[in-house]
């Protein structure tokens, strides 16, 4: 019997060791962050130890930086509740030895060839001869999307990225105060369709949005999104519908599309441009304008 017990102890010892609990400590905190332990919720403070089975709650626009086993640092900047078990992945450390790293380093250095600045300018063009202003941010939103008047349908709120290797982005929708995040979302694509947020926004209200490369500081720029009521839109449409001269149906639709685009009614402009090209499919000007419009706003 003893032998069997010993066998199990020896056999499962590695698993017992690997199943060791991780210890989390709050390193820094901003905004509304709390710790729930034994169903009691307390404000998270710097230095608070999060015991196993506890939950950490991060409010919208808040973040907490944690240290796992006093070694590995990571941040929680998405609103939500996190249990200690869900954070265990963040505790993984690189255990490669100095010797292994030395061999790797020597090999990489010996086999690396960057060429010279004369022959390989791509590898040497990381020097920027200018000053930076504002936050370091690798996401850029086209000026056309700086203001959007939304009524119905869907259009993509898109952005461009200066970093090729960026794989994930943080999209944030703010309320009118520009500070409270009402919809954060991690996305792999460089856009979020308005239809995805239409449930969260109310007609007649103003919102703001932005995007950042995941892990980068929050973008200080905010893009304006106004959810117009149907009445507001109809009133505006009536004013622009009046034409001085006579015009064909296609001409009228094209003109309305153009004026709506100028006034940031992107979704509605799309419908009118589309109608114009359908009514006069031979008109290459309509067709090219419509194609450019779709390209500019990344409408597929």
């Amino acid at each position: 019997m003893k032998k069997i017990v010993y066998f199990f102890i020896v056999a499962f010892f590695p698993f017992l060791v690997s199943a060791q609990e991780n210890m989390f400590v709050i390193y820094s905190v901003k905004g509304t962050v709390s710790v729930v332990e034994n169903k009691v919720e307390t404000k998270a403070k710097i230095g608070t130890i999060i015991n196993n089975g506890s939950t950490i709650k991060v409010g919208a626009g808040s973040f907490a930086t944690l240290l796992c086993n006093e070694t590995k640092m990571f941040s929680l900047n998405k609103a939500g509740s996190y249990t200690t078990s869900s954070l265990s992945d963040s505790c993984k450390t690189n255990n490669s030895s100095v010797s292994a790293n030395y061999m790797k380093y020597i090999w990489n250095e010996m086999t690396k060839s960057k060429g010279t600045p004369e022959k390989n300018r791509k590898a040497y063009m990381s020097n920027v001869g200018a000053v930076g202003r504002g936050d370091v941010n690798n996401v850029w939103v086209d000026q056309r999307l700086d203001s959007v008047n939304y009524v119905s349908g869907t259009i993509p709120l898109s952005w461009k990225c200066f970093v090729d290797e960026a794989e994930e982005f943080e999209f944030r929708l703010y309320d009118a105060s520009k500070t409270k995040v009402i919809f954060p979302k991690a996305v792999k694509k460089k856009h979020v369709n308005i239809s995805e947020i239409s449930q969260l926004i109310q007609p007649g209200q103003t919102y703001y949005w932005n995007a950042t490369v995941k892990g980068e500081p929050e973008n200080t720029a905010r893009q304006y999104l106004h959810y117009k009521t149907k009445d507001e839109y109809q009133a505006f449409l009536t004013t622009i519908k009046k034409a001085d001269g006579t015009e064909s149906e296609a001409e009228m639709n094209f003109r309305l599309g153009f004026v709506l685009e100028e006034n940031h009614y992107i979704g509605e402009a799309y419908n009118y441009y589309l109608k114009a090209t359908q009514l006069d499919p031979t008109n290459s000007f309509y067709r090219n304008t419509f194609m450019s419009f779709k390209k500019d706003f990344e409408i597929k």
Partner: protein, 441 residues
């Protein structure tokens, strides 16, 4: 079968190295390298005045690679005995309030890494003065100045209310890497502590006594922890969080709390120092560590009695002699027997030796915290090839003049028998070698 094959080949290659190992000329050629090295060192002129390589590598230490590229300290745990409060750009009154707030958390020692020159607004100075008076466990910095013969302490505006002090000076060239510090200096006739020594005296008297008993004029700093945007191996608290009581009540209790300036912006170099932990191990351009973190590393080292043991110079020389001797044996073998391969083998041997001995140095440093200066070894390996030519000319002259017997014999000597200088190089060399070795035996 395979092991026999491997053993045979290993023997063959070992023979390449050891064939000339015990020859008189190998000893003398090795000694010639050291004579040459010493003579070079005796020249009182800095030949590297315009040598960019030498200037760039002036501050270079192979062990720095361990920090910069090999993640030597990546898994070192946060030191829970030390908490750093970032004072940012607070004025004197705000600093006074901050000291009082920190004190209310009952730390064992508060170390203030800020010095105050002259007077400022009386109301603000008065608030700070009161805070100093109230905080009995405060240790503050002073600035030491080396005169011609003695070390003096610069006066500070609040000297009268801060009895516990230590100088903040560290040892390093101007815009150079900080590798050492001096734990004590003599001011007047008294022993005056460095700030970290003064803090340790208050926190852990046993560690203080151990440091004192070492009687070292300067200690090598064993850097283990850093603080930047990606790595936080010390707890940093912003002054706003401190003032807003955003800190767990046990975080500072019975700890060392250091108050100083921290910034994470690489372009802000105020009170930032170059350290061996700099990501650039050669040609360091941007200082990497806030002064307060350098002091924190010293405290951690002393508390853990985790000193770096520097090998005596003679050990470095002995290692250099042994390695230089083995290399010389290999080089002479190729020089005499396969001259066509000599330079290629020498260059390859130099390359692999640099890699291997740099690794050996790093390994000793990483595993045993022993610092062995491998630079003499590397100098010797580099010089050995050139010295062989000088040595050959010299023994050639001795041979002609005094009949000195040498394995170099007539090798490459145009004044000797012209018939030897036919194209059959190998044959000639072998012949000369055989004759000399016979005489040796």
């Amino acid at each position: 079968m395979l092991h026999k094959h491997i053993a045979r080949h290993t023997k063959k290659y070992v023979r390449h190295i050891t064939k000339y190992l015990y020859e008189r000329d190998t000893f003398f050629a090795t000694i010639a390298v050291f004579v040459f090295l010493i003579l070079l060192g005796m020249i009182p002129i800095n030949f590297y005045v315009l040598n960019p390589m030498k200037l760039a590598l002036k501050d270079f230490d192979f062990n720095d690679i361990a920090y910069a590229k090999l993640e030597k300290t990546a898994n070192v745990k946060k030191d829970n005995r030390i908490v750093v409060v970032n004072t940012g750009h607070l004025d004197r009154a705000e600093l006074g309030f901050l000291i009082e707030k920190v004190s209310s958390y009952n730390p064992k020692v508060i170390g203030l890494d800020i010095f105050f020159k002259g007077e400022r607004e009386p109301d603000k100075d008065s608030i700070l003065r009161e805070a100093f008076k109230k905080t009995k466990n405060l240790v503050a910095v002073s600035v030491g100045i080396w005169g011609e013969h003695d070390f003096t302490i610069d006066s500070n505006n609040f000297d009268d209310v801060i009895p516990k002090r230590g100088y903040a000076n560290l040892i390093g060239e101007d815009i150079g890497t900080i590798r050492y510090y001096s734990p004590f200096e003599t001011v007047g006739h008294e022993k005056y502590p460095q700030i970290t020594t003064a803090i340790i005296k208050e926190y852990d008297h046993e560690a203080y006594e151990k440091l004192e008993k070492r009687h070292k004029e300067q200690e090598f700093i064993n850097y283990k922890r850093r603080v930047n945007t990606d790595v936080k191996q010390y707890q940093i608290i912003e002054s706003e969080d401190m003032m807003a009581d955003n800190v767990d009540s046990n975080l500072l209790k019975n700890k060392i709390v250091l108050l100083g300036y921290i910034n994470y912006d690489p372009n802000d170099v105020e009170d930032k120092k170059f350290t061996p932990m700099n990501d650039k191990f050669a040609g360091k351009a941007i200082p990497d560590m806030n002064g307060i973190i350098v002091q924190a590393n010293i405290i951690s080292m002393v508390l853990d009695t985790d000193y770096i043991h520097k090998m005596p110079k003679w050990v470095a020389w002995v290692v250099a002699i042994i390695i230089g001797w083995i290399h010389m044996s290999l080089f002479i073998r190729y020089y005499l027997e396969s001259h066509i391969w000599f330079h290629l083998v020498a260059k390859l041997a130099q390359l692999f030796s640099v890699i291997a001995f740099a690794y050996l140095g790093i390994l000793l440093f990483d595993k045993f915290e022993v610092k062995l200066d491998m630079k003499y070894t590397l100098y010797v390996i580099a010089l050995a090839v050139d010295v062989i030519y000088f040595y050959e000319a010299f023994v050639g002259w001795l041979h002609r003049k005094y009949g000195y017997q040498t394995i170099f014999g007539h090798h490459h000597n145009p004044l000797e028998n012209a018939t030897h200088h036919n194209n059959d190089h190998h044959k000639h060399e072998t012949t000369t070698h055989q004759s000399t070795t016979h005489e040796h035996h």
